[in-house]
């Protein structure tokens, strides 16, 4: 838990209602009730119906486990799992819980192994999660040991379904979730394939931080183009995103749960902002210029109308393509008031050294110390504190009020409404 929450992190009782009291307010999608962010029972139901439901959850990139025996710790929802590559190159995902006494046996964040051995009683599992060995299975001197009918195959690790697309690994608890390409829907898949064209990736490194906010806020923030033009003056000043730029806020047309925010950078390094637009943006700083402009160079390496897309794949993945800085972010829910974000920054195997350095320089935009990244984290923390401790309990979502889903205007909350329309149908609200 965020350390400051030990002092002032109380949730007002009324903000932590049981499910039976969670009734969506009048006014439909123009309001979000605070309890979606603060109720423990709502959170528990989300883990069951969403993260353990009919969804594909991002767990790792294939480039992280390129060789047989390579593994890494990951999560599906809040549940710890291990992602492993077996001798035959197949990829497996299983819960990080020994079938014997429940120990979380895999302790290294990544590595290479021939098998997994629980340190407590040394039960051993194959790279596919099958139970291989139980010490003293037949006892000692014909005493003790497992009953005769104990069969190893009945006591393997809890395995998940696994799929991959162009080097990205997903897992699911569901037997009936559709194939990943269908799950993503055609337009989202097309944008996904821009950053993941199927060529080998090169891992550049990791960030990991706790955001003291509900996991859904992260989706909402990336379905909220309104904030981007206001909160992030850095974007505005340098023309990465300006109200009036060519842009889109796309929601998948099937269920509205995935989306991407896209914008096309103009050819000028710095943005021209007309006086009328400027008036609306308090954070606008006229005449701010960089000393080192290399950082804003955009190497046009992709066949896409957008120089920037931030893609949300329900329920736990963000694909970041901010000009040339690329990354995936994995949402790990951590109770209603907290989430862990695991960032994996990458480039491509065929990048030149200069291109890698360019990606690293541009990486200063994003991440928990990024010029944009940290502002989002701050804002979402403020929202969670507000919804936990206040006496009023509604969020207003009336921008572009008649629309649900894709919008070409940045001054719109239509995409957030699409997500909540879907959310309500899954959760029964």
């Amino acid at each position: 838990m965020y350390q400051s929450q030990t002092v002032i992190g109380q949730t007002v009782g009324a903000k932590n209602p049981p499910l039976s009291e969670c009734v969506w307010p009048e006014g439909g999608l123009h309001y979000i009730p605070d309890w979606v962010y603060t109720s423990q029972e709502v959170y528990d139901r989300e883990m069951e119906l969403i993260f353990h439901g009919d969804t594909w959850n991002y767990v790792a990139l294939e480039a992280e486990i390129p060789n047989p025996g390579d593994y890494k710790r990951s999560f599906v929802g809040a549940t710890p799992v291990v992602v492993s590559r077996a001798e035959d190159n197949t990829i497996h995902v299983f819960e990080n819980r020994c079938a014997h006494r429940g120990a979380e046996f895999c302790r290294n964040s990544q590595g290479n192994a021939n098998e997994f051995v629980c340190p407590y009683h040394q039960w051993s599992y194959s790279l596919k999660g099958d139970l291989q060995g139980v010490p003293f299975k037949r006892g000692v001197n014909k005493e003790g040991g497992m009953p005769k009918d104990f069969r190893n195959q009945d006591h393997g690790l809890r395995k998940l379904h696994v799929t991959t697309h162009h080097g990205v690994i997903f897992a699911s608890y569901s037997d009936k979730v559709e194939p990943i390409e269908e799950y993503l829907t055609p337009e989202i898949l097309a944008d996904f394939n821009v950053a993941f064209p199927g060529k080998p990736l090169k891992i550049l490194g990791y960030y990991r931080n706790e955001l003291p906010c509900n996991w859904k806020m992260y989706h909402e923030n990336l379905k909220d183009p309104y904030h981007a033009t206001l909160l992030h003056s850095f974007l505005v000043v340098f023309g990465l995103l300006v109200a009036g730029n060519k842009s889109t806020m796309f929601s998948d047309s099937k269920l509205g749960r995935h989306g991407y925010m896209g914008s096309a950078k103009s050819d000028d390094l710095y943005a021209e902002v007309n006086p009328e637009t400027k008036k609306e943006m308090r954070s606008f700083h006229d005449g701010l210029r960089l000393r080192d402009e290399r950082f804003l160079n955009y190497v046009k390496e992709f066949d896409s109308p957008w120089s920037v897309t931030m893609q949300t794949v329900w329920p736990n993945l963000i694909v970041q393509r901010e000009m040339n800085t690329l990354g995936v972010r994995q949402i790990v829910p951590n109770g209603p008031n907290s989430m862990i974000m695991q960032w994996t920054m990458f480039g491509y195997e065929d990048d030149t050294e200069e291109m890698t350095r360019h990606r690293l320089r541009q990486g200063n935009l994003m991440g928990p110390s990024g010029f944009l990244g940290l502002e989002d984290n701050e804002a979402m923390k403020f929202v969670q504190e507000g919804v936990r401790r206040s006496s009023t309990d509604l969020n207003v979502l009336k921008l572009d009020a008649d629309k649900i889903g894709t919008s070409d205007s940045l001054i719109s909350e239509a995409s957030i409404r699409a997500m909540y329309q879907y959310y309500r149908s899954v959760m029964g609200f």
């Binding site: 003291p212 000043v237 080192d292 862990i340 690293l360 200063n364 110390s369 502002e375």
Partner: protein, 176 residues
């Protein structure tokens, strides 16, 4: 598989005689005290002045360092990039007000080249205090530094800030 065998952040014994190392250590401790005083005072626009024109500054998790991964939570090639960051923090960025307090200890001088380049390390603790909040250990780690002389003062040619803190609390606003 990426393993820590190529870990350039492993323990390195000092290659200097005791009296040379001791004299340099005092100088570096003075440098770090001034460096931290600037950051603790939140005068971030003075921070780039502790570096050479072409210096490298990186803040990254120990996990990345051990796996030889180049990413930085903060990554600056040259003082101009540091200056841009300082200005962004001071004049454009939105974040809650906070105090930062650096504690630096265990300074070790590893080596000095004939040209006067000094390689040194020191541990740090970074304590953060938000409005109405307790003081918390925000980051724990170690500086891996290369100093050069410019006139009568030391400047950083490279500072690698390698932190152990596997989960950062929300964000890191100021340089370390």
């Amino acid at each position: 598989m990426l393993m820590s065998t190529k870990n350039k952040f492993a323990y390195t014994p000092s290659r200097l005689d005791a009296s040379t190392a001791q004299a340099l250590r005092v100088e570096i401790e003075d440098f770090n005290a001034a460096y931290c005083a600037v950051l603790d005072a939140l005068q971030v626009e003075l921070w780039p002045e502790f570096f050479t024109e072409d210096a490298i500054y990186r803040v990254t998790a120990r996990e990345n360092a051990e796996l030889n991964l180049p990413v930085g939570l903060v990554y600056a090639e040259g003082r101009d990039m540091m200056y841009d960051r300082a200005v962004a923090i001071n004049r454009t960025q939105m974040f809650a007000p906070r105090y930062m307090l650096h504690m630096v200890s265990n300074t070790r001088v590893i080596d000095q080249t004939p040209e006067g380049e000094i390689q040194a390390e020191a541990n740090f603790l970074l304590v953060q205090t938000l409005v109405e909040s307790p003081s918390t250990v925000h980051l724990a780690g170690r500086y891996y530094d290369t100093f050069v002389r410019s006139g009568d003062r030391l400047l950083l040619k490279e500072r690698q800030v390698i932190y152990d803190t596997t989960i950062l609390a929300n964000d890191l606003v100021y340089p370390v």
